[in-house]
Symmetry: C2
Subunit: 385 residues, 2 copies
């Protein structure tokens, strides 16, 4: 096992009827900014529950944080929040609203010249306005970590961001808030969480059997519960199990002491930035090709994954690995997620564009062995055509 540090102070409040807890979790006398997305929370009753919980607080609303939240939008929120002397933010929504709120919280107190530098130059936040979340869309895990991904619209680029100050103070996870989600968003959430686990698991063994089994625990649960959710998205336990699995997939527990490979997310971000393909779907496109391309260096973990998650035990190692990757593809497709670039009308021209962008950015050394270079990314994407 590798040395590691683990720290996650997010208070999770999980279950039916728990949005009311916001009343006691938001500090008394706080001037609150409520951040949310396109307004679906006004149709499904979540907004009313949140406002009832905040009835003794001053509240400014900021509506309109879009999927793949944009720097430009978030800086508008920063201006409004500063003007309103906001000292607590409550994010209500999915990963985009929560990611965007993390950036707003840090940008409000950024003491350099330009908050943009936190994204483009990786300058670390030294403080942030405290915030909480009410999660309405499981998948990204943002509700229980300190990271975010922010898009710059003018250049179509996605940047990662994080700091010890951008953990939510609390997150309310009420599975009933998911009952009105479009099936497409549920399947995206399951695929995103499933891929998060694989990126922390399909690397090379370091004799960390507990972390391996905990990763497999999340995978097996998503494998079972994902298809159930599409059949019956109003089943409380199914949605509760998906919601908690997605949180556990990216709260740091399963990654302690093991190598990780975030190349699939990195490459997928390019497809979202250029073609607007749903984030989770980009992962389902990239992952199988990446696994095939790196199957020699990921061999031991691929075989273990195949046996323990998909029951693949017959054949040569190569046959077992191919069956395992096929099972993964079939899982994505069972969630109505297509896994080829052609399914999204993306062709070789886009691959050339991505290669050019990565060259300009100086991308190098992705993957758990830091051996995935731009030419490898080109080959991986070509296999996904």
């Amino acid at each position: 096992m590798n040395n590691f540090q683990f720290y996650n102070p997010v208070k999770i409040i999980f279950g039916k009827g728990q949005i009311a807890a916001v009343a006691r979790e938001v500090p008394a006398n706080a001037r609150v900014m409520l951040t949310y997305g396109g307004g679906s929370i006004k149709k499904n009753g979540v907004y009313d529950q949140v406002m009832a919980a905040l009835k003794n607080h001053q509240v400014i609303e900021f509506q309109g944080i879009e999927p793949n939240p944009r720097y430009e939008t978030l800086m508008q929120a920063v201006s409004i929040a500063r003007r309103g002397q906001v000292d607590f933010i409550l994010a209500v929504g999915g990963g985009s609203v929560i990611d965007g709120t993390k950036f707003i919280a840090a940008a409000m107190l950024y003491d350099g010249d330009n908050p943009w530098d936190m994204l483009s130059k990786g300058i670390k936040a030294k403080k942030a306005v405290p915030f909480g979340t009410v999660l309405t869309l499981p998948g990204t895990g943002s509700e229980m970590n300190s990271g975010a991904v922010i898009t710059r619209a003018e250049t179509s680029e996605k940047f990662s961001f994080g700091s010890p100050f951008t953990f939510p103070q609390f997150s309310v996870l009420d599975p009933e808030t998911t009952f009105t989600l479009p099936l497409r968003q549920i399947s995206n959430g399951v695929a995103d969480a499933f891929t998060h686990v694989l990126e922390q698991y399909l690397t090379y063994p370091v004799n960390a059997p507990l972390q391996d089994r905990m990763a497999e625990a999340v995978l097996l649960t998503l494998k079972e519960e994902g298809p159930k959710a599409l059949d019956n998205p109003h089943d409380y336990d199914t949605m509760a199990n998906i919601m908690w699995s997605a949180t556990m997939a990216l709260n740091g527990v399963i990654r302690v002491g093991v190598p990780t490979d975030w190349a699939t997310h990195y490459i997928g971000h390019e497809l979202t930035a250029l073609h607007g393909i749903d984030h989770a779907r980009t992962l389902a496109i990239v992952l199988p090709s990446l696994l095939r391309y790196k199957q020699e260096t990921k061999k031991e973990k691929l075989l273990q994954y195949g046996e323990r998650v998909w029951g693949v035990t017959v054949g040569t190692d190569d046959e077992k690995i191919e069956a395992t990757i096929q099972a993964t593809i079939s899982f994505f497709e069972s969630l109505d997620i297509r896994t080829r670039l052609q399914d999204y009308d993306v062709d070789e021209a886009t691959i050339r564009t991505i290669v050019k962008r990565l060259q300009e950015r100086g991308t190098k050394n992705l993957g758990e062995r830091a051996d995935i270079q731009i030419e490898d990314i080109e080959k991986i994407l070509t296999r996904s055509l």
Copy 2:
């Protein structure tokens, strides 16, 4: 899945050579009290590493926190710490030292008449002096939770205690600190952690498959790594896997949203209080009889545990359950832990004494269904003779 809250802000610093991190984790200018046990840390080099890390701090030492830490001892530490205006405590040791330190930290700032009331009357601490830990003996999980068990010597009683203020600020887990442990302490730690998991798992199903699998992940890892540790206690990875498993067994992750049954610990505490039997050994005595006694109400989980952890798949349900309990007993015995009261020269007279003590205390409604009463405890202990 049941509703739940989860909050655990302990920073874990895990791995070789990490005791040096104490230097930056203890606040600058803090007046530190170092708490430890019988002095083994002076023989194995841990004390020297800790003192080197604290070379820029004022340090008062309090040596002598005993196994099953006593209120009387801890109140001496409280006096010394108050006199020395201590504002940070560093516990170096196993569960007893850490548990004791939690009580010292809360008692120092207790604003009622008598800190004893936190134990005997369950009055909650409202604050505590901040503290960190350097773990040298894996098992209790105290390094990553807020609970403690304290003994009152004059009445031979053990009391549980906990508060949101008694989480360690940080815990350093360096597996190399375990290399000089007596095998008896390693096997005790494995058995304690294994039982912690079973007490959060062997209850009744609430459709929480992720929590079930995470519990099984810890059980399977302890099952594999425990015997290896006895064969080769200087194997770094083995001890690292045991250390992290024991922490994960009781840091709250596996218990979220599921029922728990702490009756085994409750009953075991009586055997330690009256006969000084090692805590872990009392669990190995009580657990098998409790599982047999409650096998009807724990049936579904016992069958799942047998199949997934011990590979028990053949026979009637009763046969499978008995084979599963036998496998559990064999596991304890493979760790050189005997599982009958007679192995410890304890007879029916002790059971009568325990019954009388529980009657005086008004014990009732233990177990996940609150249906274990004093007469049930008597029967369970009788089966363990």
